[in-house]
């Protein structure tokens, strides 16, 4: 009847249920619920934009909106990663007690974060429509950007959560990494303001194109560098692949370490 094998469909059903659990648990007993997902990036936007204008008068056209679009994406990535890395350890009671595909634990965190991103981006697009700033040519890039973002987040979440079971240092490493990663990702600035000499570092960052694609919604001044897209895509796939392999390998012995 269904195209999927029963194993795959069971995996997806379990993933959905775990995601629902994650979302449910997050907003239990909060009055504003999902609104918090919008308030935080808006606050960040106000602060960063306020501070930045001391240095440069109008750093980029529509700088506030530019910031907001980038912050929505970055917040998805950073909050997902910082939660995912210790997810297996936090769910030790589940891991030690039942036999199920452990992948659903980090994946449910990525998925619930993605649902947030989609919802908040929907609100953002409404805002752009209202302001008449929505660029129409964004769709193909943003789809591609989403895929790269998803591959990177999923791969990294699987990789770090599995390694963190054995080496608890990994969670500290990820926190430090995210701190640095924020500054080598064009969130508060644009890639063309980076000196030619060091731009290679940005090209090694799989999130560079992702950010550009999301920012292109408001300001279609980007001309996309094809090499960047290919490089970022390849890197994202590599991260995804190694995440899957390492998780598969390590998940057999989770029980011994928890």
């Amino acid at each position: 009847m269904s195209l999927l094998s029963s194993k795959t469909s069971h995996f997806l059903e379990l993933l959905m249920e775990m995601t629902a659990r994650e979302l449910n648990a997050r907003y239990k007993n909060t009055i504003f619920g999902f609104v918090w997902a919008l308030v935080n990036p808006c606050l960040q936007m106000v602060v960063i934009s306020f501070v930045f204008r001391f240095i440069v008068k109008e750093p980029l056209p529509n700088y506030n909106l530019y910031l907001l679009s980038g912050l929505l994406v970055w917040n998805f990535f950073s909050s997902t990663q910082s939660k995912a890395v210790s997810s297996i350890v936090n769910e030790r009671f589940l891991v030690k007690k039942a036999n199920f595909p452990k992948e659903v634990i980090p994946l449910s965190i990525v998925l619930s974060g993605l649902l947030h991103l989609m919802a908040s981006f929907f609100v953002f697009i409404l805002l752009l429509l209202f302001l008449g700033l929505l660029s129409s040519s964004f769709l193909p890039q943003i789809v591609l950007g989403c895929l790269i973002l998803l591959a990177t987040s999923t791969g990294l979440a699987l990789l770090t959560s599995a390694l963190n079971v054995v080496y608890r240092d990994v969670s500290f490493f990820v926190q430090a990494l995210l701190l640095i990663w924020f500054y080598v990702t064009p969130v508060v600035y644009a890639l063309n303001s980076i000196p030619e000499k060091v731009v290679w570092l940005w090209k090694l960052n799989p999130l560079t194109f992702v950010l550009q694609s999301f920012q292109s919604i408001i300001s279609s001044f980007y001309t996309f560098d094809q090499n960047l897209i290919i490089g970022n895509g390849a890197l994202a796939l590599l991260i995804l692949f190694s995440g899957i392999v390492v998780f598969r390998n390590k998940s057999k012995t989770f029980d011994d370490w928890l």
Partner: protein
């Protein structure tokens, strides 16, 4: 030709397919004196370890009711975890046939903020049922657990007993081919215990059950075959009576009486 056929049929009758097979299973745990860190691990690779299981070979046939007994630290729970697929052996192989549900923990994945119904779905999916199946059995599960109107309330409002009953109800309705029970599954009050015993006798007639327990009465109630373990090895396997004798040295008059009672009842 016909003769062969009868012989084959006979063979199938007397020799049901094995449902859990372990061959030369060993499990080594590494000892870590503190939480392992990356640097420590690279600097000095301490490979201190101990063997929790050594060379376990066993074949459990479909329909067998197997008990595993042994002193603390003899490897019972490790063995159970390996059978349940939660842990994997260091060497050797294990094969299980059909759906296996383990009650090493009743109510794995229960979330205090979710309602009873949502927790049934979550736990049910975790132990291997799919959504359709859970939806179909939802009413039965709720009725069996006896939590009544609480089913629509979040789980933190439940008493411990109610949570355990709900967990048991889900596991029983998962309709497993192999059921793995850890000690302490006899939860709930006397009434609920009787209910589980009754259901056990009805539903699990042809199914494989593996039980770990210290309680000889539980072993007598649930098993027809017992493995005695010590220091990671199987010391003895045989009937309930002979195994208890072996394990306890001798059995006291009340255990003797209990075994006789059971024999008379069946």
């Amino acid at each position: 030709m016909t003769g062969y056929k009868t012989q084959n049929n006979m063979k199938i009758d007397f020799d049901p397919p094995s449902s859990v097979t372990l061959s030369k299973v060993c499990k080594k745990y590494y000892l870590h004196h503190a939480k392992p860190t990356l640097v420590e691990n690279i600097l000095h690779q301490k490979n201190e370890g101990f063997w929790a299981l050594r060379d376990i070979t066993m074949a459990i046939k479909k329909g067998d009711k197997v008990g595993i007994v042994g002193p603390n630290g003899s490897g019972k729970t490790t063995l159970l975890k390996i059978i349940a697929g939660i842990s994997s052996p260091t060497s050797g192989s294990i094969k299980t046939r059909g759906r296996l549900v383990s009650l090493i923990d009743v109510g794995a994945g229960f979330h205090p903020d979710l309602t009873g119904v949502k927790n049934i779905f979550l736990n049910g999916l975790l132990i291997g049922m799919d959504r359709k199946e859970i939806t179909r059995k939802l009413k039965k599960i709720v009725a069996f657990s006896g939590v009544g109107e609480f089913i629509d309330l979040p789980l933190f409002t439940y008493s411990e007993g109610m949570k355990l009953r709900l967990g048991m109800a889900i596991a029983i309705h998962a309709d497993p081919d192999v059921l793995v029970l850890d000690e302490g599954f006899g939860v709930g009050d006397q009434k609920f215990k009787e209910k589980i015993k009754r259901v056990y006798q009805e539903l699990f007639k042809g199914k494989t059950v593996i039980v770990v327990s210290h309680d000889m009465y539980t072993i007598i109630d649930y098993c027809d075959k017992v493995f005695v373990m010590d220091k990671g090895r199987i010391l003895y396997q045989g009937s309930v009576k002979s195994a208890i004798k072996k394990y306890k040295g001798n059995y006291n008059s009340s255990v003797k009486w209990y075994i006789n009672q059971k024999r008379q009842n069946s």
